[in-house]
């Protein structure tokens, strides 16, 4: 009986340990408006777009805007260019500096 209590306690402890295991994924989860920080190494013309998991652009957040080097923040309200919600899934926010992609933030969007 004592042995079974030890085994069951061990299993419960293990499950707790597993659930507490690292879940800090290298992507953000967004259920509402989300802020994305990015750093520019130099100043220049910046474009920021959002693409879905089919690499199709669903939203232009910044278009041909002159920005200085340093930390910047862009906000996405999880809507596409037509103001519609494009659906749950994996999205990428891409920052272009003078036409070159310099930063990618992956977002798991789950609003519904």
């Amino acid at each position: 009986m004592k042995r079974w209590i030890i085994v069951i306690t061990g299993i419960v402890f293990s499950l707790l340990l597993t659930s507490c295991d690292s879940t800090s994924y290298p992507f953000m989860t967004a259920i509402d408006t989300v802020d994305i920080d990015y750093t520019l190494d130099s100043s220049g013309t910046v474009d920021v777009t959002v693409e879905n998991s089919y690499m199709t652009e669903v939203r232009t957040l910044i278009s041909s805007e002159e920005q200085e080097a340093g930390l910047h923040t862009v906000t996405w309200d999880l809507l596409d260019d037509e103001g519609e919600y494009p659906g749950d899934g994996l999205y990428t926010v891409e920052v272009f500096l003078n036409g070159d992609r310099v930063f990618v933030q992956i977002l798991e969007v789950n609003r519904q």
Partner: protein, 228 residues
């Protein structure tokens, strides 16, 4: 396709040489859009990995129309996989193993699949071959295919998928040889084929843009057939 099925059916009724069997093939698909997408995810610090090889399993029928002409019809399913996995903390995994008296080690690897990509295609192929030699029978040929593809991405909280149907083409050289073995009293024939498969289908749903699932690439196929 309908013509091929009709011809194969007629051959069975007329008692011509007819074979049916299971095939298995491996191919190196182009998947250029998937590779671009994988590169994009990797740029976003996600260690996303794509398979190099596509595995296909199918059911195939072979029949000889004449001494020189061989027809083939098949239904097969191809699968291409990509994944982002996270390893369990080794200390946690060791403790789990200890507390479960080793049972945890019996159930798979400690990897935790966080994001998975599944590309699948259902292929219905028809092909005609010209026989170059007998015993073993060497033949070359090809034919069209109807391809139904699907693409699914699972994340911890979401699932998104898209489907499309398109046309494909395949061409190859095949070798068929009587094995000498029998199954259920019927002679077993072994077959192998190497060739190229064109199978690029553009997804046509909302928000899929120009994204295509491209199973095109060289393949090597082996099969075991029952000579009916």
């Amino acid at each position: 396709m309908t013509v091929l099925v009709s011809i194969l059916s007629l051959m069975v009724l007329q008692g011509s040489s007819f074979r049916i069997g299971f095939t298995f093939d491996g191919s190196y698909p182009a998947m250029s859009d998937e590779r671009d997408y994988s590169d994009l995810l990797n740029e976003g610090d996600l260690d996303f990995k794509l398979d190099d090889v596509t595995w296909t399993g199918g059911l195939e029928a072979l029949g000889d129309v004449s001494e020189k002409l061989r027809l083939r019809g098949s239904v097969s399913v191809s699968n291409f996989h990509g994944t982002y996995e996270e390893n369990y903390n080794p200390l946690s995994y060791a403790l789990i193993g200890i507390f479960t008296c080793g049972l945890a080690f019996l159930f798979g690897s400690p990897d935790n699949e966080v994001i998975s990509l599944e590309d699948e295609s259902l292929n219905i192929e028809a092909a005609a071959y010209y026989k170059l030699a007998e015993s073993p029978a060497v033949s070359i040929g090809g034919g069209p295919s109807i391809v139904m593809v699907s693409r699914t991405i699972d994340t911890p909280e979401t699932e998104s998928s898209a489907k499309a149907t398109g046309m494909g083409f395949n061409a190859g050289i095949r070798i068929d040889q009587e094995s000498g073995f029998r199954f259920l009293g019927l002679p077993l024939v072994l077959g192998a084929e190497a060739g190229y498969r064109y199978c690029n289908v553009k997804l046509d749903e909302e928000y899929t843009g120009d994204f295509s699932v491209d199973f095109s690439g060289p393949y090597i196929k082996v099969g075991t057939y029952l000579n009916l």
